[in-house]
Each structure stands twice: as C-alpha cells, then as structure tokens.
Amino acid sequence: MQIQPILAALRRHRLATLLITMEIALACAVLCNACFLIANRIALMHVNSGVDETSLATVQLTGYETEQAVDLNARAISGLRNIPGMQSVTVLNSIPFGARRGTAGITLDPAGQHFGGVVEFYVGSQGSLEALGVRLVAGRGPQADDFHAFEGLMPGDASVQITRSLAEHLWPGVDPLGKELWVDKWHYRVVGIIDHLVRPDPAGWPEGSKDWSIFVPALPGKYLAGSYLLRAAPKDVPHVLRDARAVITKVAPDAVFDQEGSQTISDLRASTFRQDRAMAGMLVGVIVALLLVTALGIVGLASFWVQQRRRQIGIRRAIGATRSDILRYFQTENFLIVSFGIAIGMALAFLLNLLLMKSYELPHLPLYYLPVGALVLWALGQLAVLGPALRAAAVPPVVATRSV
C-alpha cells in the first residue's frame, strides 16, 4: 500500500484531518486516565483487611447509660452466645469497615515531642483478636494477664500488637518488638506484629497508612461495651446476625439496636466502597460514551470523504484498482489519522495525569496503559471506517464516465 498518495490527499483536507486527529488525541488522553482511575478505585475496593470477613458480623447497641454498660455487656454476651452456630462473641470498640472509636495520634516519647502518626486503636476483650482471624507474624498474641479493666477511653498501659506497616513506618529497619509508644500519658509496649488489620475507614487515608492499627487488650466494662464482634461459620453468619437482633430485643429491650451499624463485615465492606463502585461505574459510562462519540465522528467524516471522492474512486476503479484496493485505501487513511491522534494523545494523557496527580492522590500513569489505549483506538477507528470504506469499494467504475 502506498502511503504517499494518502498523505497528499490528507494535506488537501488539513483542517478536517486536524480536527479528527485532535478528537482522537483527546479521546486517547481521557481514555487512558479514566481507565487508570477505574483501576485505582478497584484496587482501593480490594484493600486487604487482614480479617476473616466472611466469618464475621457485628452487633452495635446504643442508647444505654454508662452505668448500665457492665450489666448490658453481661446480658448481651450471654444472650448472643446461646445463638446456635455462634462460634464466639467478643467486645471490640472499633470494627473493620464499621464503627470507628479509637482514632488517636501517637508519639514515640513520653514528652510527646516525636509524633508518630494517627492510628486506629482496636480495644478488644479476650479472644477478639483471634476472632478477627488476623495473622501474627512476629512476637506473641495477647495472653490472659494482658487484659485489664480500665477507666476512660482506653487502657492507660498495655502490651499491644501492631500491624507490620505501622511498625515499618515507626521504626524502619529496626526490630519493633519491645518498642514503646505513647498517647499523651498512656503508654504501650509492642509485643506482637500482625500482618494486616485494616482501619475502620480505609478510604479516608492515604495509601500506605490504610492499616496502621494497634490492638489493645482490655476487659469489657463501662467504656468497652455495646460493640460486639460475632464469629460463625461463613454459611451461618447471615442467620446468626438475624437471630442476634431478636435476642437483643429480648435480653436488652432498653438499648437501641443500631440497624445500620449491625451488619456482616462483608456488607460493611460493600457499603464502605459504595461510592467508589458508583464512581467506577460512572467512569465506565464515560468511556463508552466517549468511544461512541469518537466512532460517530469518524463515520461522519469518512462518509463525507467517500461521497466527495466518488468520482476519483470511479476513475481509480476504471483504470484497474480492485475493490480491496479502495477498501484498503480508506482503512490505511484511517489508520494514519488515528496514529497521529494517538501520538499527540499519549503526550496529552501524560499531561492530564500530571494534573490529576496534583489535585488527587494518584500515582504515575503506568506506561503500559498507553499501548493498550492505542490498540483500542486503532480497533475503534478500523471498525468505524469499515462501513464507509465498504461503500467506497462498492462504487462502480462506470461513475468515472458520468459527469457528476
């Protein structure tokens, strides 16, 4: 196929060629970045929680007085434990993807001079860390004598387990076991490292700090009540939660059962990322509409060119060009235009990515998005031009002999 005559023809339609090139360039830039945004959302939605989500549910009670808390705990726990299929019921202040009650800033010295970051404190009763199903990678888990009663928001002194990413952030390259940290005057010693334990609200935190969590063992009491972690076999979880509602209305009629907060962890996870899923869906919609409009533009312009060149096509056919020659002419022309567009589009995509990185917490656009975007647009161009090109190929040679 000779490219020279095609380029010569395009040179005569500079403006139209430029417009369609720009359209494809813009489409390429938006396409690559939108796909990248979708991939980011999907990655966010798949954040590793570190817990056995399918085996867990939570019951949240509110509307009771602090003085009633101890009594409420006793009634609720014994009631919930009697539900058939229940494996364990423990008290845990914060719930992955659910209630958030232990967000605090930590320091690495008692004077509070060396700020360590804002972390989530999971204050839990005996068995709650095991119930979560997190994986201990170093040190030890909580032992019976680690659990103490406390007054105030959290125990004032405890041996704690922290996540690996938090340990690496606080003491990079150093063995974190035995290290100490403070919240104001409260003091904690690291005795174990867990693989992952996501914050209750991972979406609101920058990458890398989504599972900065600390597990603090404590005995249930006045300030550790009303928030229960239920564990059951995955197939039992839905009915255990359903039964839990009935049990609570029986054993604790004075408390308010928080419908929205009391869900399976899988459902809590789904609702945490609802907005991200909606956004990803919208981006997919934009991409589809974008490709559609671009294709329409190519169809429109190609049809116009075919009609405009009917006579030339007839002449070419009359002097020996085959149908596939004509077909290939328009296909090659489209390929060239789309290629120009992609070349500009890649630069634009990169610029757009830089802009997005400025205002949103986005990493660099991985380079492999560019060739994939290019392939999609080439395919789209060929598909769009096929109709008009076939019509061109169908022009009979006799057209050449007629005057318009």
């Binding site: 359209e23 813009l26 509110t62 308010v256 928080d258 919208m282 559609l292």
Partner: protein
C-alpha cells in the same frame, strides 16, 4: 432574513438526516454529561445562605498550648472556655454556640420504639441567624438559654415520624431521661452543605461528602443539651486525654463551634480586634500560648478553606468537560464536511450577490439550530443523568434536581457550543471562491 436562513437551515438539515443526527447526538451527549455534573457541582458548591453569607463569620482562637504540631492554622473548632467566653461577650449582632451529639429520643404519647437521633445544642440566635424556617411554633428565647430550659425544636422529618406531621408544639419529647417541651417544628430544611457543622475538611483527603448530610432532628438550648446528654459529647481533638470521656467542659479538648453575624465592614474590623484582644488577654492569663493564631473567616471563606466539594465530584466535572470538548471537535469536523459539500450552492448564492457576511450568518444559523436540537436532547439526557445521580449512594443524592437556572444554562451551553463549533466551518464556507465553485457545477 433570519426566517429565510432558518428555512434554509431546516432544508439543509433534512437533506442529510444521518449527518444531522450524528451532530445532534454528539452535542446532546456532551451537553447531557456536562450539565449533569455541573448541576451536581452547582448544588454542592453553591452559597447555602444566599444574600446573607457575607455577614456570617467563623471566629477561631488557638487554645492548644502544645508545640508538637505546626500551629499554622488553629484547630477547626474551639475549646469550651474560649467559645463560651467569646459568645458571652456578645460583641456581634448575633452569635450561636454549636455542638452536636447523638442521643435516645422517645415520644411518650406514641408507642414507637426509641430512636437514636442527632441533637444540635445551640443558642437561640441560631434560628434567625441562619434563616431557619419554622412550620409550627418558633425558636426558644434567649432567657431559655440562661435558664437551661427543657425545651426543644424538632425537624419536619422527625415530626412526621413521631406525630404524623401534625402540630406537635407543646407535646413532650423524652431526650435520654429528660422530658422536654417542643416549642417549634421546622419546615423541611436542607442547606447544602450543612454549612454550620463543616470542619476538618483539610484532614478529609477530598472525602467530604459527609458535609452534605441532613441537619439534625432535635435542637435544644446549648446549656440544656450539655446537661441532658452529659457524657456523650465527642471531641474534635484533644491535646491531652480528657479525664471523663464524653464530658468535656473542663477538658483540654476542642469540640465547640461558634458562628457570629456581623452586619458591616466596621463591625467585622471591630470583631477582629476584639478577637485578637481576647487571645492576648488569655495569653497574659497563661491559658493559651499561640495568641497570634486567631482567624475570622466569612462563611464562604470557611467553606472554601474546608474544600467542601468532594474531590470525586470535581473529578466528574473535569471529565464531563473533557468529554464536551471531544464532542465539540466532532461537531466542528462534521459541520465542516456539511458546509463544504454545499460549495456549489454557496457559490450560486455568492454569484447572485450574497455577501460573505450573509453566507457566514446563514451557516451560523444552521449551526445554532443544531445546537437547539442538541440542547433538547441534552436536557433529556441531563434529566436521565440526574436520575442516575439520585440513585447513587452519596448523601447529597436526594438534592440532585434541575432548577430553572440550570435548565436555561443547558440551552445556552448547547447553542454556545454549536455556534463555537460552527465558527470555523462557517468562516471556511464564506471564503469559498464563487467562480471556482460554479465551474464545477
């Protein structure tokens, strides 16, 4: 002449229906996408108190004496002492202290199960200052604030749920263990955002959709609310741990908002001086360290500082406009094809004496007509788009409706886009040399 051009335009559009449809669809889709996101943007970034926001201010002092974080800006809300001191000074036209908390609500006359609701404890100026509309009754009086009166104002929504929408003024509501008398019922009131509670936007990483939640369902006098729900107040932040969680009056915590109304520039300047003076005086007393760190932002400045529009919404708007740009390029290309194909016709008109301007106008009329058709399509697509937004899980979703100004803007934008798209092709068309065109006929 315009009528004639319009007639020509209609004829020309009818001649090639496929091309016309392509252009109309391109404009409609572009307009639909950008107007949907613009409407959401308009809804979220608008002025929640039009005509009044310029007189509403948010004073701040920095009571945190610690030095372990940068005091570039004071913490978003105030400690009890500073807030109550500033309020008690009554240096503004109106002033309101605000704190919200969750509590158990029951209506003794009904046998509905207890509800957990958000309660806003504030002072009586809150209602006139923020133009809060009443359906029945009205606000409590300033003396109720002083007397710690057991009174409450409830939202239209709660009134519907508890009393079936009837006038419930005078009825009793049980808040936790305290009986309060209902003195007022609000009309449906949905400011966007819930501006008076906005704080902490700079820590939200763009996840600010929660600023658009519905107002609280129960309003009580500030002093009464603190007593009724004692032990259940949550700090924004603390510089030392409070001794008794939920009871923060003497705690080293920031948890109270203060809003003031200042009617003139002179009053604003006076209040600024007063605020600085207060901070200096407290520094002299040894209570605060960073006395220079005071702020007095107007309502809109405060919303701006907090970046209230969620980053997702801004992203969607950018995306929609990139999309509109693509549609624009598309339309330019198609119009160019359309106009130049009529070279012969234009040549005849020019040869018969039509000026370049006339040809140019005629082309633009045709482009404008396409814009109008695209605008109608875009309007329908915008309605569809907003319907989709309303089905989204976002807290502001229920507010996504097309108002008159956005309806008009749809058509203005559609016609402007198509005229812009028509400019270049029209310019090309009117420059065609008539002689050359006639020869090819």
């Amino acid at each position: 002449m315009f009528g004639y051009y319009l007639d020509l335009a209609v004829r020309s559009l009818k001649r090639n229906k496929v091309l016309t449809a392509l252009m109309v669809i391109a404009i409609a889709v572009g307009i639909g996408a950008s107007m949907t996101t613009l409407t959401v943007m308009h809804l979220l970034s608008g002025d929640p108190l039009p005509g009044k926001s310029g007189t509403i201010f948010y004073p701040q002092v920095d009571a945190d004496p610690t030095t372990d974080f940068s005091h570039k800006d004071p913490i978003d809300v105030m400690d009890y002492h500073s807030a109550v001191d500033l309020w008690s000074a009554h240096r503004a036209d109106r002033q309101a202290l605000l704190v919200d908390s969750q509590l158990k609500v029951r209506a003794p006359q009904t046998n509905l199960p207890p509800l957990m609701e958000m309660m806003l404890s504030t002072t009586s100026d809150f209602f006139p200052m923020f133009d809060v509309p009443f359906q029945y009754g009205g606000s409590w009086q300033p003396q109720d604030d002083e007397k710690h009166a057991r009174v409450a104002v409830i939202s239209a929504d709660l009134n519907d749920r508890l009393f079936g929408g009837a006038n419930s003024v005078g009825h009793t509501l049980q808040l936790r263990d305290t009986d309060v008398r209902i003195v007022g019922v609000l009309k449906p009131w949905r400011p966007s955002p819930q501006f008076y509670m906005v704080a902490g936007g700079r820590f939200a990483h763009g996840q600010t959709a929660d600023f658009y939640t519905k107002p609280e369902d129960v309003f009580t006098p500030f002093t009464s609310g603190l007593e009724i729900n004692d032990g259940n107040f949550w700090q924004f932040t603390c510089w030392h741990m409070p001794d008794k969680p939920g009871h923060l009056q003497d705690a080293p915590c920031e948890w109270i908002r203060l809003w003031v109304e200042l009617g003139s520039a002179a009053k604003v300047a006076d209040y600024r001086t007063f605020l600085a003076g207060y901070a200096e005086q407290q520094k002299a007393l040894g209570r605060i360290t960073h006395a220079e760190n005071t702020r007095l932002r107007s309502l809109m400045q405060w919303l701006d500082y907090n970046g209230v529009v969620p980053s997702d919404v801004r992203l969607q708007t950018w995306l929609a406009f990139a999309f509109l740009a693509i549609c624009l390029f598309n339309t330019i290309g198609l119009l160019l094809a359309k106009f130049l194909r009529r070279g012969g016709e234009i040549g005849v008109r020019r040869a018969l004496g039509a000026s370049r301007g006339a040809v140019f106008t005629q082309c633009l009329v045709e482009a404008g007509l396409i814009g109008l058709l695209g605008g109608i399509g875009g309007w329908l697509l915008t309605l569809t788009g907003l319907w989709l937004v309303r089905r989204q899980p976002a807290v502001y979703a229920d507010m996504a409706h097309l108002d008159v100004s956005m309806f008009l803007l749809t058509f203005v934008l559609a016609i402007a886009t198509s005229l812009l798209a028509g400019l270049l092709p029209a310019l090309r068309a009117c420059r065609l040399a008539p002689g050359l065109q006639l020869k090819t006929l």
